[in-house]
């Protein structure tokens, strides 16, 4: 390590300490500053253990937390970015906090959530052992560009990568990555057997209309959700993968599925969640995790943190779910519809930098299928935009209430009793949790 790198490292560690003294969470700031002065700094950390990275549009944080959990339960010392600081700045900040003065990172495993666009940048500098790719959906087009651009970035990294690649074989956008490096023998596909609510026609906006290999229209036997399902290309045989791990007998009502004949209970009732768990099972299989640990994790572990997180007060229950894109929001609406009772929806929509300034994605949410929704409350910086969208879908505008202020919105939400669903986008999900938690603490029965 050169003197310059050594000094930048010390400066970085100092920044982390100062921020800690000021009681500020480190977040991305130290990394942002350090990368500004020394853009090669990531390459000077010395990591002495295998790295497992999770990427994809939706589900990264959940899957990373679960993978971290199974390794921890196996008695391993794991370093992870649990809170989803998944850009190079976040990774540098994390390393600064944990490294020795000479930049050594010591652990048994590093389990990292990585933003799709940062996979090549980060793993040009760090040696990766296993990459897990969950899905590719349209997400923040104004920040990320077309979804194709992101796929190509990950693909360019995989072209020379020889480590393990765990891919969602039911997403054509992901499955195609298995052919990025024909010499890589470590491609492992996971797949989920057709579930009860799978459809013949695509139900929500999706990609995957054309074969990414030859441009022929793709044929689908069924869709699980969005463009995830059983597809094939009749011209070039794309989609015909050897499956490494298959989830079968998906039973959402009773929250369970089987893998290779073994039954597992799960904690949630959405197909989207089942896919996340399939990825976790694939990692567990690859690393020979003890089956009891996997079983117990799937059964009891919860990420919370605004991912299908449950709250209750008095006779009301509320579920908060993050949705950064139409696929995420459609999934919550599916779960709402599969809940057979009257309910209310609150939708919190921000348009801060990290959300993307463009909110037009809300027009790709399928609100027409709304069932038994008694009232809609909207909030956030774009509260009126989401209200307009729901109105134009045919929902009675007299049942829509707009409160841009979050605390006011939460207060009105709990002015009635019953089942509540809350959808919040990226920068609004933590403030929404806080507002709900504050409301509950301030209104507990004495």
């Amino acid at each position: 390590m050169g003197l310059y790198n050594f000094l930048t490292l010390q400066l970085g560690k100092l920044i982390v300490k100062v921020l800690k003294l000021l009681h500020k969470g480190a977040g991305n700031l130290p990394g942002l500053i350090l990368l500004g002065i020394n853009k090669n700094i990531l390459g000077y950390f010395k990591v002495d253990c295998p790295i497992i990275a999770v990427t994809g549009t939706n589900g990264k944080t959940s899957v990373t937390n679960f993978v971290n959990h199974i390794f921890e339960q196996s008695g391993k010392n794991v370093i992870t970015n649990k809170l989803g600081n998944n850009l190079d700045t976040g990774i540098v900040s994390l390393f600064l906090k944990l490294c020795s003065p000479t930049g050594k990172i010591h652990a048994d495993y590093l389990v990292l959530e990585i933003d799709e666009s940062h996979v090549p940048v980060i793993f040009k500098k760090l040696k990766l052992e296993t990459l897990v790719v969950l899905n590719f959906f349209r997400d923040q087009l104004d920040r990320n560009g077309e979804v194709e651009t992101l796929i190509l970035k990950v693909k360019s990294f995989l072209e020379t990568f020889e480590g393990n690649v765990i891919l969602n074989g039911d997403d054509p956008n992901v499955s195609r990555l298995g052919q990025a490096n024909p010499d890589n023998k470590n491609i492992k596909y996971f797949s989920v057997e057709k579930y009860k609510y799978a459809t013949d026609k695509i139900h929500e906006v999706g990609e995957g209309k054309f074969c990414p290999m030859c441009g022929n229209p793709l044929e689908y036997e069924y869709y699980q959700y969005s463009h995830i399902g059983r597809f094939k290309c009749s011209r070039c045989d794309f989609g015909n993968n050897d499956v490494f791990l298959r989830v079968e007998n998906v039973d959402l009502e009773n929250r369970r599925f089987t893998v290779e004949g073994r039954e597992y209970n799960i904690n949630n009732r959405s197909i989207y969640y089942v896919y996340n768990m399939a990825a976790v099972c694939a990692v567990a299989k690859l690393y020979n995790i003890d089956d009891e640990i996997l079983r117990d994790t799937l059964d009891t572990y919860e990420v919370n943190n605004g991912r299908m997180e449950r709250f209750s007060i008095g006779n009301s229950n509320a579920v908060i779910n993050l949705a950064k894109n139409p696929v995420g929001a459609n999934m919550t609406i599916r779960v709402m519809n599969e809940t057979n009772c009257e309910k209310e929806l609150m939708f919190v929509l921000n348009d801060n930098l990290a959300d993307g300034y463009d909110v037009s994605w809300i027009w790709d949410i399928n609100f027409e299928i709304f069932k038994d929704v008694q009232r809609v409350i909207t909030s956030g910086r774009r509260a009126y935009d989401i209200a307009i969208r729901i109105k134009v879908s045919g929902y009675d505008p007299s049942m829509i209430e707009v409160y841009p202020d979050l605390d006011e919105a939460v207060e009105h939400l709990f002015s009635t009793e019953g089942e509540k669903f809350i959808i919040a986008n990226y920068t609004s999900v933590q403030p929404t949790r806080t507002a709900v938690i504050n409301y509950i603490n301030n209104n507990k029965e004495q």
Partner: protein
């Protein structure tokens, strides 16, 4: 009952974020005025589409790849589409749809896609894929003699040559080219623009302008009864305050 016939072209390919919402807004606002809407589709390989039988032809925006896939099909319909335009069918063209109806579009890979040449403009995308006009945009346009602010979101690499018939004057954002003053293309029966949002969601006056044109083009008269646009007005107010007052 009056019916507006809409042809939604390449809805399966030109379907970037929310552009299909424009059709939803038109149907919603037409229905409230007692005007029915019929939406039909034309996609690659659709045979015998009778373009002149529609009151409105709509094209949304798409990615470069999709625009290449459909270019050939579009060319094969050229004469029929021209005829429809001359017969007074209204054209609402967003982003990719806007570019494809011009003379040509040179994409970010330096590939030239021949346009229909319906209108006298052309588009050249920057070869630097990261260089795009992205952000909220507000323009000022004249509809039926009334000056109106139009709000949307632009996200395009293509730089469209100046035309003397711009849709509007840029108050905030980029417009046809980086930091340009003009946005879109506007003539009697065409509005072509880079504005997503979707365009009609926060511009009810513009939606009504198109509905009125389409339902009166056969000589009838339609009463555009006012609607409750309180949510739309509020949404506009929030963004005008945020974007226009800081200048």
């Amino acid at each position: 009952m009056k019916t507006i016939r809409i042809l939604h072209m390449y809805s399966d390919m030109l379907d970037l974020y929310g552009d299909n919402g424009n059709i939803e807004v038109l149907r919603y606002r037409a229905r409230a005025r007692g005007v029915e809407t019929v939406v039909e589709h034309h996609s690659v390989g659709t045979k015998d589409t009778d373009f002149s039988s529609y009151d409105l032809i709509y094209l949304g925006g798409g990615a470069d790849y999709e625009q290449q896939l459909l270019a050939e099909d579009l060319q094969s319909c050229r004469n029929e589409i021209m005829k429809a335009y001359e017969n007074g069918t209204f054209f609402l063209l967003i982003c990719g749809g806007y570019q494809l109806m011009g003379e040509y579009y040179k994409d970010s890979n330096n590939e030239v896609i021949k346009g229909l040449g319906l209108f006298p403009y052309h588009t050249v995308a920057s070869l630097n894929k990261g260089k795009r006009c992205i952000g909220n945009i507000i323009i000022e346009a004249e509809l039926d003699g009334m000056i109106s602010k139009i709000i949307g979101f632009e996200n395009h690499g293509g730089q469209t040559s100046a035309t003397d018939k711009a849709f509007g004057k840029v108050l905030f954002g980029n417009g046809n080219r980086f930091e340009s003053e003009d946005e879109g293309y506007f003539d009697k029966n065409v509005i072509a623009t880079y504005l997503h949002g979707p365009l009609l969601s926060k511009n009810p006056k513009l939606a009504d302008y198109i509905i009125k044109y389409c339902s009166e083009r056969d000589g009838g008269h339609i009463e555009m009864t006012p609607m409750d646009d309180a949510l739309e007005e509020k949404a506009r107010e929030v963004l005008f305050r945020r974007l226009l007052t800081r200048r």
